[in-house]
Amino acid sequence: MALGNFLQKGEAFMVETDSGEKKKNIIVQLFEIREIGAILPLIILVIISSIINSSFYSLDNILNILRSTAYLFIPAVGMTFVLCASGIDLSVGSSMGLSGVMLGMLMVWFKVPVIPSVIITLIVGACAGAVNGLLITTLKFPPFIATLATYYSYRGLVMGVTKGGPISPMPESFNRFGLATILGIPNIVVFMVFLLIVGEFVLTKTKYGRYVLATGGNEESARLAGINTSKIVFANYVIVGFLSFVSGLFFSARFTSAQPSLGTGYELRIITACIIGGVSLFGGAGSMIGTFFGSLFMIVLENGMTMARISGYWKQAILGVIIVIAVIIDLIRKKELFAKK
């Protein structure tokens, strides 16, 4: 009796793996780095950009790139949590616009002092995210539909209130905050680095991060393990709403006006940055470092093309190709493509 033999031997549970034990070739190893989809094209892009235009490496240009990256990366941190838990948020760009207009209304129209205005705006930001969270967890809306609705609602609110025109000028002290630097580095860049460290820590070293990944991997199993997945999902949308408002706040402070068009198109750029950075489209995997490199890539591409005097229209075509490549890498990593079955 075959089974009996196994039991008598009492051998250890040595399970031979078909492909796992073979020495992996270097290309497979490379693809297992989650952030590779952003880092590799980024390196190529930086090389090309610096060849085409020598001023690419100027401090001004580098700070400019980092500042633009920050506007994208700050909400992208929240988006990474959302995507890791198998959600999506289309309303981030509209939330950025709403943030600026809230600040404009409070400071310019109602003459509220700067600090209370900022606090009120950030609270409204968390509430804007909470609306998404409630629609998704309580009313069981699919995330795509819930955030599509708020995408239109928030932008409509912004346009309705401002009648399409900017609110300016903002108080001088607010503008000074927007232009301030710490040791020569714009404070938004300092904040971005801080957020990168905190975000990565939360995702990998706290229960919250672990539960986000578990919820994205298999919500039912996560719930059976005693995790309150609704609470996790709700919190994710609050975080992304809040961070979108933070990004809008930095933008308005720098340009000292509330632009109703602020954030238009950012939702797709942010999602693209996350995907290029290796956040799995299937949930359950991602990293903040990857999202950072994804965001940086988006900006370097735009910056490099501007400096090379290539029409901005081409940018979208290139982005499309990059997204396809990023998803193929994700599939290879999940061994759903080119896998020996």
Partner: protein
């Protein structure tokens, strides 16, 4: 029959769905440190029985005793608090997480650093791998997510995920379903190791051969009725098959 300490007892358990008796006054006892095979054909009531014992559903009537004390299991959480862990057929793993992250899911080890709870990933990995090697399970590359493991390995992780958290009762619902011969052997081996660790195990299976390899006692259900209860020494595979199919009606 030698009188052994009873760790879990379902007394006069009845479950009706509408007019149908899924279980009809079944009394099932599990002794300390034994493997009890719960056998029966499809629709015999095996799953209903273990769902009741694991707190997933409530009986229409009947009582449950854990270590002699009457208990009410209104949820799987209640059952877990009493040391009853159940591995269901769908395994309940999170595929994108690694072995130790699955085993510790929802019960992570953390350390407070500056008021922030920080996950102790290294301690969890050591704890998980130590447990796995104790039950005869070594795995070449434990960092891989469980979706990359074989069927048998996944079953073993799912069993470990429950066995790790109880020192009392483990209920296994078809742990060898859909596995190859070699992997089945390894899972059965693991069940024996868990018994050696002192666990009391209820094993649901369709396969008489598997039951005979690891179980100490057999409990046969048919159409919600108890057909028989035999010690391994008292019976043969042939007799058990007859009990399951209804050739013997007790």
């Amino acid at each position: 029959m030698v009188e052994k300490e009873v760790i879990l007892e379902g007394r006069n358990i009845t479950k009706t769905y509408g007019g149908v008796h899924a279980l009809d006054g079944i009394t099932l006892t599990l002794h300390k440190n034994e493997v009890l095979a719960l056998l029966g054909d499809n629709g015999a009531g095996k799953s209903t029985m273990i769902k009741i014992l694991s707190g997933a559903i409530q009986p229409t009537s009947g009582e449950i005793f854990v270590e002699g004390k009457k208990v009410v299991l209104s949820s799987t959480r209640d059952a877990k608090a009493l040391g009853i862990e159940t591995v269901f057929q769908h395994l309940a793993l999170v595929d994108c997480l690694s072995i130790e992250k699955n085993i510790y899911l929802g019960k992570e080890i953390t350390k407070k650093i500056c008021g922030i709870e920080v996950l102790q990933n290294k301690a969890m990995k050591e704890g998980a791998l130590k447990f796995l090697s104790e039950v005869g399970f070594t795995i070449p590359n434990p960092n891989r997510p469980v979706e990359e493991l074989s069927g048998g390995q996944r079953h073993a992780v799912a069993i470990s995920k429950c066995a790790f958290w109880t020192e009392k009762i483990l209920i296994l619902d078809e742990p060898t379903a859909a596995l190859g011969v070699r992997e089945t052997g390894k899972i059965l081996n693991m069940i024996q190791e868990l018994k050696k660790k002192g666990l009391s195990i209820i094993l649901i299976t369709h396969n008489i051969e598997h039951a005979f390899l690891v179980a100490d006692r057999f409990f046969v259900l048919r159409a919600g009725q108890k057909v028989g209860e035999k010690l391994k020494e008292e019976t043969t595979a042939d007799e058990i098959v007859k009990m399951i199919t209804g050739a013997i009606y007790v």
